[in-house]
């Protein structure tokens, strides 16, 4: 099958450039990039006024399979990704059983091959059972296909264990992705500790709970030479710690979620449990600091932390609801509406954080438009608008805090391995 994408503005994140060129795809590979391309028998896709990007990569997703298929499955989670413009996702290991051994990693890859519609890169656990005690068989996990190790959701509290994990992961060139949260500081907190938690009477999670762990893991990264990629950074203090560490040359990268660059803890008013997420929604100052970090390059990656839960699980008292919200199908719109439209990031800067940067962190293919590259392509229409309605989601999860919000700038086509999986906001698979 041949695809000829004509007249679009192709985004080259490595060069930070946008060029008006056509792109030819044959047999799942990009075979031509240039002006005025022609190809007999190709399906022509008119992309005038649209951005033709390397396939977007979401490096922080919870696909929930195995074990929590009532929340999401590899089939539905990858469809949500496709609908959201992502051609690849990296999935977190807090499944049941935990992805702490090669068998689970292989299971995920097999299911993804059989039922998935985008590329899936498993992230394995740092410790066995994610208990924070003994490190996993990382060599075996890497061989099975794990691209990184993480303690997402169940952060390693013991600094000695984390240091050994980093030493070991560094030996294998596996990035470590810490969820930075000190449990004794976070305690039973359910939202950001501050004025809003005081008014609402909800236990708070102080910014310090994140920041002391960011500081610890930066020190350990420096100490071990391990590449540490800090998951879902959320506070001004964390951004500054990473900024300083990068200046010192520490091998540290980090990501932010769309909800953390868009929403504040004021959203929790009314106890809508779809605002309950970990790390919690922070203050306006934190949101501004995160945007600064995005603009100056301190924050390398935009990732969703897509965390589906059922309506029943979420429709309870705020303190009893699980943490997490879905993000795959709203991410691109939020990036364009909140960051591009407002001038925080240029289009190539924004796209780099969704493509080449995560590809580099995880050392996975993709992230660039180039002849010979796998044809993972996302087309974004900066003029397309939509009001978010969770009923439209391909994900099983409806837990979004963005219901009713207007987005401008949406993915209109997702091509995975040369195959169109989403067109005009609708799945084709």
């Amino acid at each position: 099958m041949k695809l000829l994408i004509k007249g679009g503005s192709a985004v080259f994140p490595e060069e930070m450039k946008v060029k008006k060129v056509d792109i030819l795809v044959e047999n799942g590979v990009i075979t031509g990039i240039g002006p005025g391309l022609e190809a007999a028998g190709a399906r022509v896709i008119e992309a005038d006024g649209k951005y033709v990007c390397p396939g977007l990569i979401d490096m922080h997703v919870h696909l929930r399979e195995p074990g929590f298929e009532h929340k999401e499955s590899i089939a539905t989670g990858t469809r949500a990704a496709a609908r959201g413009g992502f051609t690849a996702v990296a999935c977190m290991p807090n499944t049941k059983p935990v992805a702490d051994n090669a068998a689970v990693v292989r299971f995920i890859l097999e299911r993804a091959a059989a039922e998935g519609v985008v590329n899936v890169y498993p992230i394995a656990a740092i410790t066995k059972g994610s208990k924070g005690e003994e490190i996993t068989e990382m060599a075996d996990l890497k061989e099975a296909g794990a691209v990184a190790v993480s303690d997402d959701g169940l952060p390693v509290q013991d600094a000695g264990v984390m240091r050994r994990a980093m030493q070991y992961a560094a030996m294998l060139q596996l990035p470590v992705i810490p969820h930075c949260e000190n449990k004794s500081l976070a305690a039973d907190g359910v939202m950001h500790e501050g004025f809003q938690s005081t008014v609402l009477g909800l236990p708070g999670i102080p910014a310090a709970a994140e920041e002391v762990m960011v500081a610890r893991d930066i020190i350990l990264a420096e100490n071990t030479g391990c590449h540490v990629h800090i998951a879902h950074i959320s506070t001004a203090g964390s951004v500054e710690l990473v900024r300083q560490a990068k200046k010192k040359g520490v091998k540290v990268t980090c990501e932010v979620t769309p909800h953390h660059f868009t929403l504040t803890h004021e959203m929790v008013n009314g106890y809508n449990t779809n605002t309950k997420v970990n790390p919690p929604l922070r203050t306006r100052e934190d949101v501004e600091a995160v945007k600064e970090g995005l603009a100056d390059g301190t924050i390398d990656v935009i990732a969703t932390d897509h965390a589906p839960h059922t309506v029943e699980e979420k429709n309870v008292e705020y303190q009893y609801a699980p943490f997490g919200l879905v993000g795959l199908e709203t991410a691109v719109g939020l990036v364009f509406t909140e960051l591009v439209e407002t001038g925080v990031l240029t289009v190539p800067q924004a796209i780099a954080k969704l493509t080449i940067n995560p590809a580099r962190v995880l050392a996975v293919p993709g992230g660039r438009l180039d002849v010979g590259e796998r044809a993972d392509i996302t087309i974004i229409d900066p003029q397309a608008g939509e009001i978010i309605n969770p009923d439209d989601f391909a994900s099983k999860g409806r837990n979004t805090p963005f219901t009713g919000r207007r987005l401008k700038g949406l993915p209109v086509m997702t091509v995975v391995n040369g195959k169109i999986v989403m067109e005009d906001r609708r799945l084709t698979v």
């Binding site: 004025f195 938690s197 005081t198 008014v199 609402l200 009477g201 909800l202 236990p203 106890y271 309870v316």
Partner: protein, 313 residues
Amino acid sequence: MAVLKSNHMLGLQHVPPEDIITILDTASAMKDIICRKIKKVPTLRGRTVVTLFYENSTRTKTSFDLAGKYLSADTVGLSASTSSVQKGESLIDTARTVEAMGADVVVLRHPAAGAAEILAKNVKCSVINAGDGIHEHPTQALLDMFTIKEYKKSFKGLKVTIVGDILHSRVARSNIWGLTKLGAEVSVVGPATLLPPEIEKLGVKVYTDLEEALAGADVINVLRIQLERQKQGLFPSLREYSRLYGINNRRLKAAKEDVLVIHPGPMNRGVEIVSEVADSSRAAINEQVTNGVAVRMALLYLLTGGEKVETAN
């Protein structure tokens, strides 16, 4: 036309000052009923009040029960340990069940903040928050205010100091909202580990030194210190707590001569308050209990469509 802005009482944060005044005025008429020999009027005959308690409480539950009964409402109590809650039924389902049985008012006590608000969004009957986590306890604050009004007449410029575990106190939060709306000057004092972040943004003065906080106080609201907080490491010992924040006659010297001491109960005598104060004429702790019934009668009456009561004073 409803007298109050909302047909729920979820917290004083969203209650306009004029509604607080209406409730306090109505409570005054209700108190007259309680003080009669025959404490029963037919006002709420045929109305049903269900108390839904997910936390242990004797005084608040009894107070609501009696308030309903004095007004001739049918009152039914459901506690989490004896209901289908034990079988895993959700709060919303339980409330809908109660409503389907014909409840006009559901009184909810729940350990999770926001529970009453969630309930109100899911049922059509009136919801009264009888304490939700550490969020609000509006009827306690209303009875505190009613008591204060009885003794001090006006709230304007009145110096009220709330002492103790402000962080975990729904009573403190509701009192702050209510008192500041009616013009009182509210201070809070307690150990730094028990003061909620940015509480000063609610328009209160914040102290860690008791003497400073009590200087010139017209009213002292002494909060119960929960012994489990010590086990959580939030303060080192009851001994030190009592030494720094315990209310005794010597400490009261910093306050005004005619200072009023109130306490939401139950008291830890000898810890946050000593008996010489609790049992003195400056304290109105038993009066508060009586007033609690009056305030709850007023709320039940107003929320079920009762007319505003004009009072002489």
